[in-house]
């Protein structure tokens, strides 16, 4: 199972966990499995068919937009990072 690291703003949707595991041979499959365990994440990451445009998904530090998007292959040793924009500065 691949490791999924959640940005802080997403953690409340995953029982406060910073890191979870999910099964899937592609990113799409892995995210579907993730939503099974944590349904609230779906709305934040993928409300429609496509990945939301305000979230960045990285597999092993590479942006999936420049890999194969939802069709990117994910291996059990891979780390998936979910990172939405943060605004806080003050």
């Amino acid at each position: 199972m691949a490791t999924v690291r959640l940005a802080p703003v997403l953690r409340s949707s995953a029982g406060g966990k910073k890191q979870v595991s999910a099964e899937g041979s592609t990113l799409a499959e892995l995210l579907a499995a993730l939503y099974q365990s944590y349904p609230a994440l779906k709305e934040q990451i993928q409300p429609e068919q496509e990945l939301s445009r305000f979230i960045n998904v990285y597999i092993n530090d590479q942006d999936v937009r420049y890999l194969k998007g939802l069709n990117t292959v994910v291996g059990p040793q891979d780390t998936v990072i979910l990172l939405p924009a943060m605004a806080g500065g003050k």
Binding site: A7, V9, S52, F54, N56, L83, A85, M86, G88, G89
Partner: protein, 391 residues
């Protein structure tokens, strides 16, 4: 018995070829870029003026510093001093060190100047400045030339809050000559847990004014320009145009998009930082050299996914770390040293004690900086995420 100075000179003259000032002038006039001019005089002599483009390596430090300043041993070097004697002996020393193509300018700076050729009058730091910035002057990558660059630099801070406070405080200490601070808020008690430019006494005062007071007390060299207003479409171009580097420490997405687009149009680098509870992010958006903010986040998240510090809280020391990373990146850009965080997002997790780095890519279809981008004509989502500004 050792050699007399006359004997040392005689030998040096046999070994080291000499050019007259007019020969050196002719070589430089041809735009010879492979020729390095080295001034071996003392500091006080250099301060009186030097040849255009010359490096300064006082003879007393010649052996210690020349390999750093002129690494190539086959490089053609023209040495000069005041009258042509010290440069001749310096030439013999360089030959001993293995430099193959060393020339001494006969007659030295005196004859050069007497012939009416150009000299550069260096800017000189005052005694107080030399003491204040002495730890910078000791670093070769900064040195006097770098410190003068910092003193000439103009940096704009968007916000004098959690990120802007530490960044402005340290940039002022570093001697960045002009700091612009835009912030329309007043100091609130809840700011003081992290916004270290402000004080308990100054609760209720404008943050920009409070920031000026703290900065002036630390370093009177720094010119502080305050803008007690919000950055918006009406003022952004005018203000951004006045600065070399912009530090983005805002708390809302509309300002970040607006700043991004304006910075692209004005070709100004933006040092981006953000914080949330225990985590922070830093990157450098250098126009067209790496991605821009819209490449990274084409659209803002809905308010529920992007709470401000006021809603979510932040560990007080965290913006200190992120703001200082921003200040560090600013100084690197101003001095042109190191590897800036362009196309790299550095994230810091305070609880884990971990830094991570993500690679960022420029989106060729980016509506702002892509091939067909139009940064002047994009929505900033001001209505969409109309969050309360204060945080």
């Amino acid at each position: 018995m050792g050699d007399t100075s006359r004997e040392i000179m005689r030998r040096a003259r046999q070994q080291v070829p000499e050019w007259t000032p007019s020969q050196v002038h002719a070589a430089l006039a041809q735009g010879r870029e492979d020729l390095v001019l080295v001034d071996v005089r003392e500091k006080h002599e250099w301060n009186e003026g030097y040849l255009p483009g010359a490096l300064h390596v006082p003879r007393g430090f010649l052996e210690l510093q020349i390999e750093e300043k002129v690494p190539g041993k086959s490089q053609q070097i023209v040495l000069y001093c005041a009258g042509g004697v010290r440069s001749l002996m310096a030439g013999a020393t360089l030959q001993q060190m293995g430099y193959e193509n060393v020339i001494s300018m006969a007659g030295g700076f005196g004859q050069w100047k007497g012939a009416g050729y150009n000299v550069v009058q260096p800017r000189i730091m005052g005694e107080a400045q030399i003491r204040r910035y002495s730890r910078h002057l000791l670093i070769p990558e900064v040195g006097e030339a770098g410190q003068l660059k910092l003193l000439d630099a103009r940096v704009l801070l968007i916000g004098a809050g959690g990120l802007g406070s530490p960044a402005a405080f340290y940039l002022a200490a570093a001697g960045v000559g002009t700091l612009g601070i835009i912030d329309a808020d007043v100091v609130d008690e809840s700011n003081l847990q992290r916004q270290i430019l402000h004080t308990t006494e100054r609760i209720g005062q404008y943050k920009a004014e409070s920031a000026r007071a703290t900065i002036k007390a630390l370093n009177p060299d720094v010119n502080v320009i305050t803008y007690i207003e919000r950055l918006d479409e009406t003022n952004v171009r005018r203000i951004v145009a006045e600065y070399d580097v912009i530090i983005d420490g805002t708390d809302n997405f509309p300002t970040r998009y607006l700043l991004n687009d304006t910075a692209l149009m004005g070709d100004k680098p933006v040092i981006h930082g953000s914080v949330f509870r225990f985590e922070g992010q830093v990157t450098v958006f250098k126009p067209y050299a790496g991605p821009c903010y819209r490449c990274l986040y084409p659209e803002p998240p809905p308010p529920a996914l992007a709470p401000t510090c006021a809603e979510a809280g932040v560990l007080g020391v965290l913006p200190g770390i992120i703001g200082l990373l921003q200040a560090t990146e600013t100084i690197k850009l101003l001095l042109g040293i190191g590897e800036p965080l362009v196309a790299r997002l550095l994230t810091y997790d305070a609880l884990a004690g971990e830094f991570n780095e993500l690679r960022l890519f420029r989106d060729p279809k980016c509506p702002a900086c892509g091939e067909n981008g139009h940064p002047e004509d994009l929505p900033t989502y001001a209505e969409f995420c109309a969050l309360p500004g204060r945080s």
